[in-house]
């Protein structure tokens, strides 16, 4: 799809939290997101995968304006999102990209019925007659599988699954192009998860939506995503199509994630628990079984296959085939000797 503008794009997105703590007001810094680059094409579903501290939620919050990036750039539908949005930009952004949050128990306004929330959205974004509004609200409820009684109910009368449907309806009420789903089924029972996942798949098809799907559950990733970005401590460590990443993961962390997925009688190898991380070098160095001396330098994100990138010296070396000298820069340039045409805006390498 080269040539078309990606619906969502971020470049070198960074968010560093700073503060002072303790009696002596000692300054601390937490790089929650570091130089993250990726893009999502129209109609695509991209999964951000990571555990706690990976930065996946922070990235989403920056995309919708709940947080401001420390540095880096973001685009929605080709328009760059600037740091300080005015009221109009805020409204436009809200009309393009919406979020379904993780916790269905706190993501709906407690005293507002589902209908009333949907009506409010319409009142703010569109000028419709009351009859049109009502019709649209009913259509939305039906689209997410809520009946009239559930629509009139307050959130506290609804189950987790019903609340999540209501949250989806509310997000869809602005008629966005992009939907960010932040662990939308993690808080739900297994038998309900499947219902919501099916619903999300149906909606994507019927409304031609683009999804940014945040999750830690790799089976869900396989089910819903076209491409995957694997995050560890704010860094992209691997990125590529879902079949490739889940079928043949190259980065040690991705491999570890896959090994850790619960399976019948499959106890993974035991690993010692380490306190704290190492400040410099590869983010995964402290827990990586393959760590070497070179890992004291932070590797760049290298292209290791078509549309497939990985941030690891050893992987880059292997995939580069017979490359024995070590690269000197860590700026994200390709570590490969062969000249591979850059992918069109799908993230990974910078440069020509």
């Amino acid at each position: 799809m080269s040539g078309t503008v990606p619906t969502v794009a971020v470049d070198a997105l960074t968010r560093i939290f700073r503060g002072r703590s303790g009696l002596r007001r000692i300054a601390w810094e937490n790089a929650a997101v570091r130089e993250v680059t990726f893009a999502i094409d129209a109609g695509e579903s991209l999964a951000l995968v990571g555990e706690s501290g990976s930065g996946k939620t922070t990235i989403a919050r920056m995309l919708v304006g709940l947080e401001s990036p420390t540095s880096g750039r973001m685009w929605l539908g080709g328009h760059e999102l600037t740091g300080r949005p005015g009221r109009e930009t805020r409204r436009l952004r809200a009309a393009s990209i919406q979020v379904v949050f993780q916790d269905p128990y706190t993501s709906l306004t407690p005293h507002q019925s589902v209908r009333s929330a949907l009506d409010e959205v319409q009142g703010v974004f569109f000028s419709r007659s009351p009859a049109e509004r009502q019709a649209r609200t009913s259509a939305l409820l039906e689209a997410v599988g809520l009946d009239q009684r559930e629509g009139a109910a307050l959130p506290r009368r609804l189950s987790g699954g019903q609340r999540q449907r209501a949250a989806i309806a509310r997000a869809l009420a602005v008629e966005p192009r992009v939907l960010i789903l932040d662990e939308p089924v993690s808080a739900l029972d297994v038998s309900i998860q499947a219902q919501i996942l099916n619903l999300l798949a149906d909606l994507r098809r019927s409304l031609d939506l683009t999804y940014l799907f945040i999750t830690h559950d790799l089976a869900v990733v396989r089910q819903v995503a076209d491409r995957v970005v694997v995050l560890y401590r704010g860094r992209v460590v691997e990125l590529g199509r879902v079949e490739v990443i889940l079928g043949h993961p190259l980065h040690p962390y991705t491999q570890r994630l896959l090994e850790s997925v619960p399976r019948l009688h499959a106890i993974p190898q035991r690993r010692a628990a380490v306190i704290g991380e190492l400040a410099t070098g590869c983010v995964f160095r402290a827990r990586c079984p393959l760590a070497q001396a070179i890992c004291e330098q932070e590797p760049g994100l290298a292209e290791v296959g078509p549309g497939h990138s990985c941030r690891c010296w050893l992987v880059a070396a292997v995939e580069g085939a017979a490359r024995t000298d070590l690269p000197t820069d860590v700026g994200g340039e390709s570590c490969l000797p062969r000249a591979v045409p850059p992918p069109s805006g799908h993230g990974g390498t910078t440069g020509p």
Partner: protein, 286 residues
């Protein structure tokens, strides 16, 4: 052991039952308050005499068949003055609660939701106001202006604002962290819409409970100010005024003091019982 226990009541009926079971103390409070309102509204019909009707020859009489609670030093019927006094005893606190609640909500919402400088300044202001005994502060304010019903009401209202503001602020601080506030921001709603239409309603139960309690406190404080001669002025029929005048002749005839103080006590207790019951109800609901 036989089969599983079937449910005795269908769901809806059980919910109905729990909603209306207020603790009996709250019911008593509610009944008394209702009675007070009735008395205040129907005062001209209930009071046997004109509360301002002076009868010098019959001063300081004890209870008789014609004057059920006796008369005061000017021969006015105590019962009638008590009945008419109910009006001011309800009106004063009502105005106090109205003003302090509206202002308190405004400041509490702004401080809690927007934080920063607004919260810092108002916070220090509340600390200052709450650091003083309320009556003392009221006296200071009234000393500047002329004593009277209006002045007293305004003074107490100002002093009560922090009570509401603090309570609203703490609720807002808690709610602010919840996902639905983020959702409003992502929906591009203005901070005002989010604060007033989405966050504030979460504070309503707390506000109602606090306002009901404030009613009782205001009643007490206003009566106290009237007693000190700084609020309602004689010859208006008011419980605080009655306490003040009755005190002077306490040893000669205790009836005015006794009836007025009982009235104040019963009224304040009633509001407290009602307020506590309301607080409990809402605490159980969440």
């Amino acid at each position: 052991m036989d089969g599983p226990a079937a449910v005795a009541l269908p769901v809806s009926r059980r919910r109905l039952v729990s909603r209306f079971t207020m603790p009996w103390s709250g019911v008593i409070g509610g009944v008394i308050v209702t009675a007070m309102v009735v008395v205040a509204v129907l005062a001209p019909l209930i009071a046997p005499y004109d509360p301002d009707a002076v009868d010098m020859g019959n001063g300081l009489a004890g209870p008789t068949s014609t004057h059920l609670l006796g008369t005061d030093n000017l021969g006015r019927d105590i019962l009638s003055r008590l009945v008419f006094g109910t009006r001011l005893s309800l009106l004063g606190p009502l105005i106090v609660v109205a003003i302090s609640t509206v202002l308190g909500i405004l400041f509490g919402l702004m401080g809690g939701y927007f934080g920063g400088l607004v919260d810092g300044i108002t916070g220090r202001l509340w600390d200052l106001l709450l650091g003083f005994p309320p009556l003392l502060l009221a006296i200071a304010l009234i000393a500047v202006f002329q004593p009277g019903f209006a002045t007293a009401v305004i003074a107490i209202s100002i002093i009560y604002v922090p009570l509401l503001a603090r309570v609203v602020r703490s609720v807002v601080l808690v709610e602010k962290r919840k996902a639905y506030v983020d959702a409003c921001r992502v929906l591009g709603y203005s901070p005002w819409r989010t604060a007033f239409r989405h966050v504030l309603p979460a504070a309503v139960p707390t506000i109602v409970a606090q306002a009901t309690l404030n009613f009782g406190y205001a009643l007490l404080d206003l009566a106290g100010l009237a007693f000190l001669g700084l609020g309602v002025q004689p010859p208006t029929a008011d419980w605080g005024v009655m306490l003040s005048e009755g005190r002077k002749v306490l040893l000669l005839s205790p009836w005015e003091v006794v009836s007025a103080s009982l009235a104040v006590a019963v009224a304040v207790v009633a509001f407290n019982l009602l307020g506590d019951a309301v607080t409990q109800q809402y605490a159980e609901r969440t």
